[in-house]
Symmetry: C2
Amino acid sequence: MPDDVFHPVDAETALAGTPPGHKDELRLWLRLLTCTNLIEAEIRRRLRTEFDTTLPRFDLLAQLERAQGGLTLGEISRRMMVTGGNVTGLATRLEEEGLVERRPDPSDRRVQRLRLTARGRRDFARQSAAHESWIAELLGGLSDRDRAALHALLGRAKASVRTGLEGSP
Amino acid sequence: MPDDVFHPVDAETALAGTPPGHKDELRLWLRLLTCTNLIEAEIRRRLRTEFDTTLPRFDLLAQLERAQGGLTLGEISRRMMVTGGNVTGLATRLEEEGLVERRPDPSDRRVQRLRLTARGRRDFARQSAAHESWIAELLGGLSDRDRAALHALLGRAKASVRTGLEGSP
DNA sequence: CCCAGATGCTTTAGGCTTCAAGGATCGAGG
DNA sequence: CCTCGATCCTTGAAGCCTAAAGCATCTGGG
């Protein structure tokens, strides 16, 4: 609904320094983003230097680990919230590295089912343990109380976002 | 504090092993990541559909906007916390679109100084206003009280992460 | 049976990102 | 002046990611 074509009020007021009260939300968002990026960058860095792997690879293995019997590429795509084409590429690279294997689904020839190999399971176990301890290290400075409060508030934030998203997906 | 080790009923808590008590940190991290990704994905989507641009382009313009006189590519690189090669590419694309212009620094011939063009300033003003209202919309479901509490707790989380990073950078 | 739409995967083009290597320039010490 | 190391930027290779198009297959209504 681009009904604001003839009302550049928003653009003007945004430049005016103190438009409405939207500054609080913006500051909160920037801090949320900074926090997440700080942690995520460090995790990516350690995955690379200590295991020569990447976060997307790790995430895909994690999905397979927690779902016995393997997953179809489509299921992985939905769980990781990325596009199908993306998963095709990740699966191909992980297959070349021998951590994962594709096998056709007997009941539906369109489907490719992905499973961890023994090596994939072993590698992921090491990576997963390290990952968990890294997170604990980075967030260990929070008290149990703060951690619980933050978890609860983020739950409300998530609910707010999903409400704001109504109609989009 | 749920330690229902033998009841992996929830999909979220489907973490098999039971080493220490690091699960709380991990759950907090996953929720933080989900929140951020949810918002960020929506912002990227709207920037693309409504302005035919991307978040990195927007971020770069924002840096230029808030710093009169232009910035060198190195300054932009540091402020955006990305590599120099990345900024080179972004600047080149923005220059081709006419939103930004490169000009040599008279006092140091290694340096490229980047400035917004008139068109870049105009486009960014529209994008910025929309961006701010999107964030306000997505986080508007939180009360002022919750928002303030979340902001404070994220500040502590950031401090915890920086402490955990000591020695890395 | 047939076919039309839905579904699952792959491919392609383009952008973002990093790391590593390379070229140009600067500044300081000899 | 000259050279050495630091700084600034660019380039190239590789991976991640998306949107869109395309192919194969499945499913349900006639």
